[in-house]
Symmetry: C2
Subunit: 182 residues, 2 copies
DNA sequence: AGAAACATGTAATCGGTTACATGATTAT
DNA sequence: ATAATCATGTAACCGATTACATGTTTCT
C-alpha cells in the first residue's frame, strides 16, 4: 500500500490535516497494520491534490499554527474504492524476529532468551493496550481487524511460550558445560 | 533486515552463489519471512566482498554458466553474529489485507466475500504446502520458525472463518434490498 | 528554562524494485 | 521453435526514511 492510498483511507473516515493523518498511524487499529511518516504523508497529499483526489482548506487557529484540512473529492473516493477492489498480493509474515530465530543455534543461550523474552513482553504489552480499547462505537471493519490482531498476538504468545524451552535447551546443550565451575 | 544481513544468514548455512541465495528466498522457511531479488542480492554481495565479509571463488561448470561461489569469512561470521545480537524493532503485522478490511463497509458484499475467500484460500494453500515439509533434518531454529508459521496461519484461518459472516452480514444489510427483484 | 505537542514542509540519502542486457543448455 | 532454468550483472526509477528548517504554545 502506498502512502497515497493510506491517506485516502484515513480521509474516507473524515477530513483531516497531514498532522492528524500522521497521528492516525500512531494509535488504534491503523497503527498496528500500517505506518507512514511526515516525509511521505506531505508529499502524498500534494500529489493527491494535483490529481484532484482531495481538496484543501486552510484553517486559522487561535494560538496554534495554521492547519490545512484535506477532504476527499468524489474522484478521490472513487480512486480509493478502486484501490480496495484491486487484489493485493498476499502479506508475508516478514519478520526480523523469525529471521533471527532461524539462527537460534548460533546465538548464546542468554542472548536467545533475552530476544525471546523481549518479544513476548512486547506482544503482551500490545495485548493489554488492545484489551482496553472499547470497540462498541467503531464499525464492523475496524472491529474485525481489532479481533484479528488480538487473535494473532495471542497465538504468537502461546506458541512462543510452548516452544521456547526447546530452543533454549538446544542452545544450552551446545554451550560448554564449564559453567558449573563458575 | 537489509539484504546484506540476509545474505550473510544464507551463507552461514553454507557457501552459495548469488543465484542460489535467491532460490533460498523462494522455498522453505526463509521464503515465508523474508524476500530479496537479484537486483538487491548481487549489489549486496559486492559490498560484502569489499567489506571483507565474504570471499568468492569462480567455479567453471560443464554445460552451465560459470558460478561465483561466496563463502563467509571469520569477519563476516562475526558481523552476522553481531547483527543477531542487535535488538530489532518489533515486527508490525503490516497487512494490505487488514487495511482493506478496515473499510469493509465501503465494499460491495460480493467484492468483500471474494477478498475474504481469496485470502483464506491462500492461507490454506500455504498450510498444505507447509504440512508436507519434513522438518526432521533441520535444526531447532528452522523448526521453531516453521511451527510458528503454521500456528499463525492456523489462527488467521480460524479467525476469518469465525468472523467473516459478521462482516458479510453488515455488508449485505447496507446494500439495497432491491436484489430480490432481479 | 526546557521539553513536548502542534503544524508544515523540503532536501539528501539510501535502498529496493523493475527492466534491461547477455548467453548457454535443457526440456517441451 | 520456444520456454524454462541456470547464471551474473547494471541502470533507471521510485519512494521511504531521516534530517533539516521554522515557529508557537503549553506544560513541567
Amino acid at each position: 500500500m502506498d502512502t497515497k492510498t493510506l491517506c485516502l483511507g484515513v480521509l474516507a473516515h473524515g477530513d483531516a490535516s497531514g498532522y492528524e493523518i500522521k497521528k492516525a498511524f500512531e494509535d488504534e487499529a491503523l497503527g498496528h497494520i500500517q505506518d507512514a511518516g511526515f516525509g511521505s504523508i506531505y508529499p502524498a497529499l500534494s500529489r493527491l491534490l494535483k490529481a484532484g483526489h482531495v481538496t484543501v482548506t486552510a484553517e486559522t487557529q487561535a494560538g496554534k499554527p495554521d492547519k490545512k484540512v484535506y477532504s476527499l473529492t468524489p474522484a478521490g473516493r472513487l480512486a480509493f474504492l478502486d484501490a480496495l477492489a484491486t487484489p493485493s498480493k498476499f502479506d508475508q509474515l516478514r519478520s526480523d524476529f523469525l529471521f533471527k530465530m532461524l539462527f537460534a543455534e548460533l546465538m548464546p543461550a542468554r542472548q536467545l532468551e533475552a530476544a525471546l523474552d523481549a518479544h513476548v513482553a512486547e506482544i503482551r504489552g500490545r495485548l493489554e493496550r488492545m484489551a482496553g480499547d472499547d470497540c462498541g462505537h467503531v464499525g464492523v471493519g475496524p472491529q474485525f481487524v481489532h479481533g484479528f490482531g488480538l487473535a494473532m498476538y495471542r497465538a504468537a504468545d502461546a506458541y512462543i511460550e510452548e516452544h521456547k524451552y526447546e530452543l533454549l535447551r538446544a542452545a544450552l546443550m551446545s554451550e560448554q558445560p564449564a559453567e558449573a565451575a563458575e
